[in-house]
């Protein structure tokens, strides 16, 4: 790109002509000591808690600890250029980040600086990073679903718009994948997505951005990252910064989804900061306000009342406990703050059940309110059925002789587990989910070999879409029907008919394949 020199010169000339000389009045202090991302500053007697201060070279800091003789400042940026004795000036402003359409599709750091090499974020809209969540008068109960596109979750632990659903599980159990699938599924649903990476490997973040871009999800997504190599202050601030960007859309009547990946790393960063600031350590050396650190963040997720524009902010915090220890300090905190959790287990993951969700201990406290009626009807007893299956399965391993009823329950359970498996980055439409789960729960799969269940499902959905689109439409229309019960009964009858037709096709296909291989 070439610049027109005369154009720029004219801009600069007007600047100089209009420049008014003023005395620069500022409150100053001097750096006493600096290191590990924090500085102690002497002076700044009028600085407020949480106020931004500026170091030489344009590095910003946040007044964190106000003490009798000095101010503890966390440095948001490169602290290596700051020296003892440097002048620090207060700015009289709180930390804020750029917001609005300009941040969509970008990969930013927690201060809103670009990390994607596409130049600065051009917007004058800013929003303070710390924002007190509105009270109950401004909210209304969560009632619309936020489809994750994952059968197991949408059927058993549905997430509503404005809900906070924790994704918890050991390392390598597919936590991020669940979140990414959810973001991918928001395509065309008018939900702005924000993925906040805290303390992650930069390679993982690059991978996530790659996947989002590849699936066209970057058109409505912003990635905010403070990687493992970022100083602790940036890791601590990142979730609040992401939340501020998401809130902009919420308070303008839109819907947004934010993923915090992950809060255990943020807790560690906050612990580091607090210890460096010499705040007294509490349990597991976390500071006393670690609960507030998470609760004030997650309380910002909400469904606004109609008078306030009915926007929503859904939060999917991710948490990685150590060695599956969910009863440790921080996990119990976060579990108690959120409206439910999706618990991912390594043994299920390695047994090939992916997403490796443990249906027994995963819950959604919003429940059926966050499901469409059809799904609620179809998947009503699924969670209990699966839990009963798990109990029976353990029992059956003892090799006892089983009665026919128990055996059929086991067979049904095995097929349902198989049916709820889903590949990564392939979120499903809610109508497809309803068709699949209906086929499973109503026993249409009982005659199919367990190893062929997924093949059956894929073929069945293709069949429905290609040959029976009117039934798909009928199922989708149930939600808005005046007499839901009647519409649902009609739709299921239609599905039953279609399944019977498909069953014949599938059987002949299998027979042909077997004949060919023989």
């Amino acid at each position: 790109m070439k610049f027109k020199a005369d154009e720029i010169a004219s801009v600069l000339q007007t600047e100089i002509e209009n420049y008014e000389s003023q005395v620069d009045v500022r409150e100053v202090g001097q750096v006493l000591e600096v290191g590990d991302g924090i500085a102690r500053v002497y002076g700044l007697s009028g600085v407020m808690a949480g106020e931004m201060v500026e170091f030489p070279g344009g590095v910003n800091g946040l007044a964190f600890n106000l003490e009798e003789s000095s101010v503890g400042v966390i440095i948001l940026g490169d602290y290596r250029g700051i020296n003892e004795g440097d002048e620090v000036k207060s700015t009289g402003q709180l930390l804020s980040v750029p917001v609005g359409d300009a941040v969509i599709g970008r990969h930013l750091d927690p201060l809103g600086n670009p990390l994607d090499g596409r130049g600065p974020v051009v917007t004058s809209d800013r929003r303070p990073v710390e924002f007190l969540a509105p009270g109950i008068a401004h909210r209304k109960p969560v009632h619309e679903p936020l489809q994750t596109g994952i059968k197991a979750i949408d059927a058993m632990t549905p997430v509503g718009r404005g809900q906070r659903e924790l994704i918890i599980g050991d390392r390598k159990t597919g936590k991020t994948t669940v979140a990414i699938d959810t973001i991918l599924n928001q395509k065309g649903k008018d939900v702005k997505c924000f993925y906040v990476a805290v303390g992650q490997k930069d390679s993982s973040v690059a991978n996530v951005v790659g996947v989002l871009r590849e699936h066209g999800a970057m058109d409505y997504t912003t990635v905010i990252s403070a990687g493992g190599s970022s100083p602790a202050p940036l890791q601590y601030v990142a979730p609040y910064a992401g939340c501020a960007m998401a809130e902009h859309f919420t308070y303008n009547g839109g819907h947004s989804l934010i993923v915090y990946d992950d809060l255990s790393k943020q807790a560690v960063a906050y612990r580091e900061l607090s210890l460096l600031m010499r705040r007294p350590p509490g349990r597991e050396a976390y500071p006393g306000d670690i609960f507030y650190c998470h609760s004030r963040l997650l309380e910002r997720a909400l469904k606004l009342s109609d008078a306030n524009g009915a926007g929503s902010l859904t939060a999917l915090p991710i948490f990685e406990p150590q060695e599956g220890e969910v009863s440790a300090y921080i996990p119990t905190n976060v579990i108690s703050i959120t409206d439910g959790q999706i618990y991912l287990q390594p043994d299920l993951f390695f047994a090939g059940v992916r997403p490796a969700m443990n249906a027994g201990i995963s819950v959604s406290r919003v429940g059926g309110a966050a499901q469409i009626k059809t799904m609620k009807k179809v998947a009503g007893g699924l969670r209990l059925q699966l839990a009963a299956y798990r109990a029976l399965e353990a029992f059956a391993q003892m090799g006892t002789e089983l009665d026919a009823a128990t055996q059929s329950q086991l067979d049904r359970g095995r097929r349902m587990v198989e049916l709820l498996k889903q590949g990564q980055y392939s979120p499903m439409d809610v109508t497809d989910q309803v068709l699949s789960i209906y086929a499973g729960t109503s026993g249409h799969l009982d005659e199919i070999d367990v190893s062929r269940v997924r093949e059956w499902e894929a073929d069945f959905l293709t069949f429905m879409r290609d040959q029976k689109p009117e039934i798909c439409d009928q199922v989708a229309a149930c939600q808005d029907a005046e007499d839901f019960k009647q519409a649902y009964d009609d739709a299921t009858k239609a599905i039953d008919g279609a399944v019977a037709e498909f069953q014949a096709q599938f059987t002949s296909k299998i027979e042909k394949a077997e004949a060919a291989s023989a």
């Binding site: 790109m1 801009v11 005395v23 006493l32 009028g46 440097d86 051009v122």
Partner: protein
């Protein structure tokens, strides 16, 4: 600090130890209280100043021993008696003994600075640090003093500093508030503003600055 900074080459004075300063504040309050009770504030302050300037600064070996905790309190007390009994006022000797008892003789310098500051404050005197590129002329000095007097109602005590990299103008610091009227600051602000403005113009109307004839 990066090389572009207008302040490069200039190193501000390093700040004192805040812990010592806290201790100094506490003892200076006690010292001033005692001195005022005796009605000899000015004299005692001067004596304390002279102790630091004329004794400790000129005899570093003595200052080190004086401030160290190696010598037991009894011996230190005897030494204070031997050295200062006839050469200092009784109140000063008592004060030194009290400091010795609490092991705070090493904080004498901080106590002196704090005592001076506290006394100045009590007298309504305000410390004003005036930094200029060239040494100040007397008329300018009195003009600044007048201005401060009018604004704050206190009696200014000017502390002058010169910093050639300010280029021109004057920087006045009262307490933690800095009034920066230097040419360097104005140039810096103008530079920032022009960069901001140019970036804004370029980003908001990219086409305007781009020529069509290739990259």
């Amino acid at each position: 600090m990066n090389a572009e900074s207008p302040q490069s080459g200039y190193r501000p004075e390093t700040v004192l130890d805040t812990d010592a300063q806290q201790v100094g504040k506490l003892y200076s309050r006690a010292f001033l209280g005692a001195a005022q009770k005796a009605g000899q504030t000015e004299e005692l302050l001067e004596e304390l100043g002279s102790l630091v300037d004329d004794v400790l600064d000129k005899n570093p070996a003595f200052a080190r021993m004086f401030g160290s905790q190696v010598m037991p309190h009894d011996e230190r007390e005897a030494m204070i008696d031997r050295v200062f009994r006839d050469r200092a006022s009784q109140l000063m000797v008592n004060f030194l003994k009290t400091l010795s008892k609490h092991g705070r003789l090493g904080n004498l310098r901080a106590i002196r600075t704090e005592a001076q500051d506290l006394y100045d404050q009590q007298q309504g005197r305000i410390k004003v640090i005036v930094t200029t590129a060239l040494p100040l002329e007397d008329e300018v000095k009195s003009a600044i003093a007048d201005a401060v007097r009018q604004r704050t109602g206190g009696e200014p005590v000017l502390i002058e500093r010169t910093r050639p990299d300010l280029i021109g103008g004057v920087v006045v610091q009262i307490g933690d508030t800095l009034f920066d009227g230097s040419v360097a600051a104005r140039l810096r602000r103008m530079r920032e503003k022009m960069i901001d403005r140019s970036v804004h113009e370029i980003q908001s109307r990219r086409d305007r600055f781009r020529t069509t004839d290739g990259n």
